[in-house]
């Protein structure tokens, strides 16, 4: 069988298509930062343990350090650069700013991408390890601080801004709920 160690892929990032040739060893994280100058996504541990590199792939939060670029071909990728609408920040971004959800800021893009997905996962009724009764008949869990802490546990913050991060996620989730309700009314 003929073998090849690189491929041409088309990465659909923040609604824009980028076609490039990648060595198969390239992670999505390295493709974003080193090839496409999208340096908002951060490299922390590079082992899937810290969450700094979190992006959304087909709407689902993913650690881009363990995702091969070649396996990301044709999938829809959203990075922190793609969350705002023009000058209007995403509610999660605005809440992190307003409530001091960071200190040094290095983990922040990953925290924000993760929080965007947490709010969607919760809205879809997903339980978590903090959910007392996972059976559907128990109904969706309220997004309590305990639930937020558990759902955000894949994002480490070495400055320890967790208290404000939990508050920021809670506020953004409440705003998102209100917007959804207003849109439905």
């Amino acid at each position: 069988m003929a073998t090849s160690t690189s491929s041409t892929v088309t990465l659909n990032i923040n609604g824009e298509k980028h076609t490039l040739s990648v060595d198969h060893r390239t992670t999505l994280l390295d493709a974003l930062r080193e090839r496409l100058d999208l340096t908002g996504t951060k490299k922390g541990c590079d082992q899937g343990q810290c969450g700094a590199c979190t992006v959304l792939v087909d709407g689902r939060r993913t650690v881009s350090c363990l995702q091969l670029a070649v396996a990301s071909d044709a999938r829809e990728i959203t990075t922190v650069e793609g969350l705002a609408e023009g000058d209007r920040l995403h509610p999660v971004q605005q809440a992190f700013l307003d409530l001091d959800g960071f200190q040094c800021g290095y983990c922040t893009p990953g925290q924000i991408c993760s929080a965007v997905a947490v709010i969607e996962e919760h809205a879809a009724g997903w339980p978590s390890a903090a959910t007392g009764d996972v059976r559907p008949e128990a109904g969706p869990p309220a997004l309590t601080p305990e639930e937020i802490r558990e759902r955000m546990s894949g994002n480490l913050c070495r400055c320890g801004a967790y208290v404000q991060i939990v508050q920021a996620v809670a506020r953004a989730a409440a705003e998102t709920r209100t917007e959804t309700e207003e849109a439905a009314a």
Binding site: T3, S4, A129, R149
Partner: protein, 330 residues
């Protein structure tokens, strides 16, 4: 990382053909374990066959009334599935107790079963390890082993299987479906993992080149009252130091049926058949729950620094079964 060829399979037979009988080829699912091991040099495949996009991403009713879970269903989708949460709640809890939201979105059911141990000697290529380099020795026996096996290990390897999902699947008699060039086949999850003995590098009974295509849960009424409890060194996002998947059917204060499996104590998810036999027909009280745990753990052979696991598992069993019994009495 070593350079490698990459292929994406369109269907199951195509994936099996792409892998062939090449011992240096690997299937790529979510990659959460494999890509990490490739970075550290533990895995050095010459070719990856990407199976993530195969049409195996559904959870469907099985003919016998159970549920069939496709191999590429993600941990997230498994844990969120209403049928799983309703009929096998301990399985949803086990999956949710593992890893992080990001990793659960990527990781697949097939990959979960075939993930490798997190033993620090296995993951460090500068150290000897009988699992990684057969015959090189096991430094864990006399070294760092506070999180290693107390059941079913050998002097050649004391590593534990890290899966939470697998513990609940084992308690519920899951059956693994796989495909080879000879066609489809299946084997009980209980028979998937080989005894450690002198060959810790031989981990599963799957034939070379086999691709796991799914896992089937037989119908089990007892599973509707089930629970997974995991103990770890921090509150979230850590591997277990001990865990229990339990299901209990109690009637008139007597145990009619019990299911019990342990995690993080052996090279595989450990089904506690001895304890189940003690429980069946016994009064549903803490005293008998403890006796059942003791009967199972009589086979434990702890090392100097992991004897705490025997006590931990006994306490876990009593606590989880007591909660289930209390729930049943309500």
């Amino acid at each position: 990382m070593k350079e490698f060829d990459y292929r994406r399979a369109d269907d199951v037979s195509g994936a099996v053909a792409l892998l062939g009988d090449d011992p240096d080829a690997r299937y790529l699912g979510g990659g959460t374990n494999l890509v990490d091991l490739m970075k550290s040099g533990v895995e050095r495949p010459a070719r990856l066959v990407d199976v993530r996009t195969l049409p195996l991403d559904r959870i469907e009713p099985a003919d016998d009334g159970g549920l069939r879970i496709g191999a590429t269903v993600t941990n997230s989708d498994l844990a969120a599935h209403p049928g799983i949460r309703n009929r096998y709640p301990a399985l949803a809890q086990a999956v949710l107790a593992g890893a992080s939201g990001q990793l659960r979105n990527m990781a697949t059911v097939g990959g979960n079963l075939l993930q490798r141990t997190r033993c620090g000697y296995f993951t460090d290529v500068s150290k000897p390890c009988n699992k990684r380099v057969p015959g090189s020795g096991c430094p864990a026996v006399e070294g760092e082993h506070h999180n290693h096996a107390v059941l079913g290990a050998s002097e050649h390897c004391v590593a534990v299987h890290p899966s939470d999902m697998g513990v609940a699947l084992t308690a519920f008699d899951a059956v693994v479906s796989y495909e080879t060039a000879d066609g489809a086949a299946e084997l009980p999850l209980a028979d998937l993992y080989l005894p450690v003995g002198e060959t810790p590098h031989r981990e599963t009974a799957l034939p070379p080149g086999a691709l796991i295509t799914g896992v089937t849960l037989p119908p089990a009424r007892v599973a509707a009252r089930s629970r997974y409890r995991k103990v770890r060194e921090r509150a979230s996002y850590a591997f277990a130091i001990g865990s229990v998947a339990a299901a209990l059917d109690v009637s008139g204060g007597v145990v009619r049926e019990a299911r019990l499996a342990f995690g993080a104590v052996a090279s595989r998810p450990w089904r506690a058949h001895t304890a189940e036999r003690v429980l069946t027909g016994a009064p549903a009280t803490a005293e008998y729950f403890a006796a059942a745990a003791d009967a199972e753990l009589a086979a434990a052979r702890p090392l100097p620094d992991n004897g705490y696991k025997v006590t931990l598992m006994r306490n876990l069993v009593v606590a989880v079964l007591s909660e289930l019994a209390e729930e049943a009495a309500r």
